[in-house]
Chain length 235, copies 2
């Protein structure tokens, strides 16, 4: 974290809400691995990036339609548009579930387990309740509750998702800290009244492609990983 942010000068949250894809789990490695296994002739790295690139436009069009659809359905629409025609329906359904089988970043489970001794931990992800539940069960993510865009009928960065966490857990927005590897997620959370913490994930887009993880003046709590966040809170 930056030296300007003393542990004693900032408000302490009661609830930590975590972005999941990129922040807690390594989606690029997991998706590319399953693509490579199923489609050895395809550039798995590029395929993973294309699949993820379809995500923001699909969410935007869902929100514009006024009818909420769960992320699994958006993932499947994108997958159908980029997958080779050789894949069967059963293979498409199974590959779409690769998002359920993502591995956590190496320090994540131990760090969350430490943080859980002091805070209520929840995901706040655009993944659906089912996706997040099966992912957590497989990966051992120790959530206290599984909150999702699906609970609130809106995708991040809609403010209803951030204030919704506070409402259902009976705390003030300023008692919830959003933890994410994406500055735009944190910007929207802060606009909704939440505390924020940034986690560097320089290899979110793949080991060979380094993401900009520069600090933002809006989010002075800036950590290398989730273990550093647990250190900061003395957990």
């Amino acid at each position: 974290m930056s030296e300007a942010a003393s542990p004693h000068s900032l408000p302490v949250p009661k609830v930590l809400a975590f972005d999941v894809f990129g922040t807690v789990v390594d989606w690029h490695t997991g998706i590319a691995r399953e693509v490579a296994a199923l489609l050895p002739d395809v550039d798995a790295d590029a395929f993973a990036l294309r699949w993820r690139d379809g995500y923001a436009p699909a969410m935007a069009s869902t929100m514009a339609s006024g009818e909420f659809r769960v992320l699994d359905d958006l993932h499947m629409d994108i997958l159908r548009s980029i997958a080779p025609v050789s894949l069967s329906e059963a293979q498409l359904i199974d590959l779409n579930r690769a998002w359920y089988r993502l591995d956590p970043w190496p320090e994540a489970v131990a760090a969350l387990t430490r943080l859980r001794t002091r805070f209520v931990l929840t995901p706040l992800s655009n993944g659906g309740i089912g996706l997040l539940t099966y992912m957590a069960k497989r990966a051992g993510l120790p959530w206290d509750v599984v909150l999702s865009a699906e609970v609130f009928g809106a995708y991040k960065p809609d403010p209803r998702t951030y204030t919704g966490v506070a409402r259902v857990l009976g705390v003030k927005p300023g008692e919830v800290m959003m933890v994410a590897a994406h500055q735009t997620d944190l910007d929207a959370a802060q606009d909704a009244g939440l505390l924020t913490a940034y986690i560097e994930r320089p290899h979110e887009l793949g080991a060979t492609r380094v993401k900009d993880v520069s600090p933002s003046p809006r989010h002075p709590l800036h950590f290398r990983d989730l273990a550093a966040l647990a250190d900061y809170f003395g957990c």
Copy 2:
């Protein structure tokens, strides 16, 4: 369980959904204990029963109004109507949280921990997401996800709650087993297509008042407690 129900002749679920008040936690003892501590001159046993008696009519009027309200608010309305005027607002708020601080039945945590190795475990309670989350954290209930009437905008026995569990977890209604100490809950779950298992809790209404726990022909899976359910599944 009854001898007629062989483990090999009945469908096996993927998800177990548990009623909470009475089935997993002992609400009468917990509420009466906190009432007795705060109001030594009040009949704590009768107070706990009166509070709980207000619950069904309050849910019915909420559902009739068409506007969902979280159970905490219904509990508070009932509490205000039965509490001595001597209690301060802060005391009322704290006493209302006694529902967050209920203890599990003695075998519940160990039995759920066994069942969790094989099934996805969720509460399906009329308690709110927050109530169920704080209760689980304090009591060590090992849920994989916290589903609640609040997620579905309807109280049990509305069929949307039962089918909602299947929908958000991506399974068929017949792959979810509702586990409850109340035959009416199981009747509604079965009408919605779920599997059912009854748990005897003869002292749900207090140690001196024995509840009828007779088997129902509609629900042949009938167990003494959650440990017997785990035994049945060989967990």
